[in-house]
Symmetry: C2
Subunit: 206 residues, 2 copies
């Protein structure tokens, strides 16, 4: 497969989000420069990025919103339902479950896990919470590939190791520490503090 730049992937995900919104609004066609404006990108870059996807628009109408959305979805392989688990139903965990639930029907948090007896065997926005000790089996039996980690910092590494052993291939980590995982596990760190620092830098320096 041809290597696609990480930035391209990030932008495609944003395009897809905007296209979904446009589709819901009933818009049929869109030009590269409009999509660029909506996505914080550039017309040239939109067209370049779409080369990777392989979908062609028409010079007259631009791109079919519906077809382009579905082409990008296919390209990103997120067209079928993807099952994800979440570990740690704390403040952040609950906010994420709520959000995910509303946001993208293609991505389903299929179960959550916690260690606190008060949280286990309850449902949060339709997501059932099990004891953490059952996570391993759950991952294996349901072939779960992606996990969201929102446990306290001190627990994150243990959880990440256990999940990797069980066959998890991707982790969205909200914990500030860096996780040590096998090479074939992809980790995305989502540390809000870093985003905030970035904002502060650009406010003070640009």
């Amino acid at each position: 497969m041809i290597k696609i730049a990480e930035n391209t992937i990030k932008r495609l995900i944003v395009y897809k989000k905007e296209l979904n919104r446009l589709k819901a609004e009933g818009k049929k066609f869109i030009y590269s420069h409009v999509l660029a404006a909506l996505s914080g990108s550039q017309p040239h870059l939109v067209r370049r990025d779409l080369m990777a996807v392989g979908y062609s628009g028409s010079p007259a109408h631009g791109y079919s919103v519906k077809e382009l959305e579905s082409s990008i979805s296919d390209f990103l392989c997120s067209s079928r339902q993807v099952k994800v688990i979440l570990i740690g139903i704390g403040n952040l965990g609950r906010a994420i479950i709520d959000y995910c639930h509303k946001q993208n029907p293609k991505i389903a948090i299929s179960s959550a896990f916690d260690i606190d007896p008060n949280k286990i065997n309850k449902e949060y926005h339709g997501v059932y919470c099990f004891h953490i000790d059952t996570a391993r089996n759950y991952v294996i039996e349901n072939e779960i590939k992606v996990a969201i980690i929102t446990v306290p910092d001190s627990e994150a590494q243990t959880i990440a190791t256990a999940l990797s052993d069980a066959g998890i291939r991707g982790i969205l980590n909200f914990t500030p520490g860096r996780l040590r995982v096998p090479e074939n596990v992809y980790v995305e760190n989502a540390d809000m503090m870093l985003y905030l620092e970035k904002v502060i830098y650009f406010v003070q320096n640009v």
Copy 2:
């Protein structure tokens, strides 16, 4: 000022975080290859990035943890206290206040704002919540430059516009929509759904 790549800024922020941790652990010196491993970077890249900061290490011991941390802090201008406000004390807002509080003493959420009478005039992890209508004045009087937006999607644009008018220069936006703001306002979108999609892409394609 010489233009610094956005990726460099992001990495410097991570280096700083790791250095802070090392400092707390009492480590005195560190080599570029060790810092690279801790930060998910490369030794060459660490050294290249540090050229922007202007701090020099010694070939014998590497970099002084304390001095390097403080040089990066100075460079990022985040050495003095920065005051930030948060709009929308919902699930996510509360999680962030709690987190920020624990995480970085240099960055203080100085106040929060909400529209719900049940939430106003209460304290959350030491952060007092005021009525949203007082936010404008607060920003002006206290010269607040950075805001975190965690209100419902439908309210985000209104809030962003009002804050921009009042002089806000940077926004960390947790809402899925794209905000239209004046050119001199820097917006960082922190949409977890996009991070999750990215993880899913890399799990399925790499």
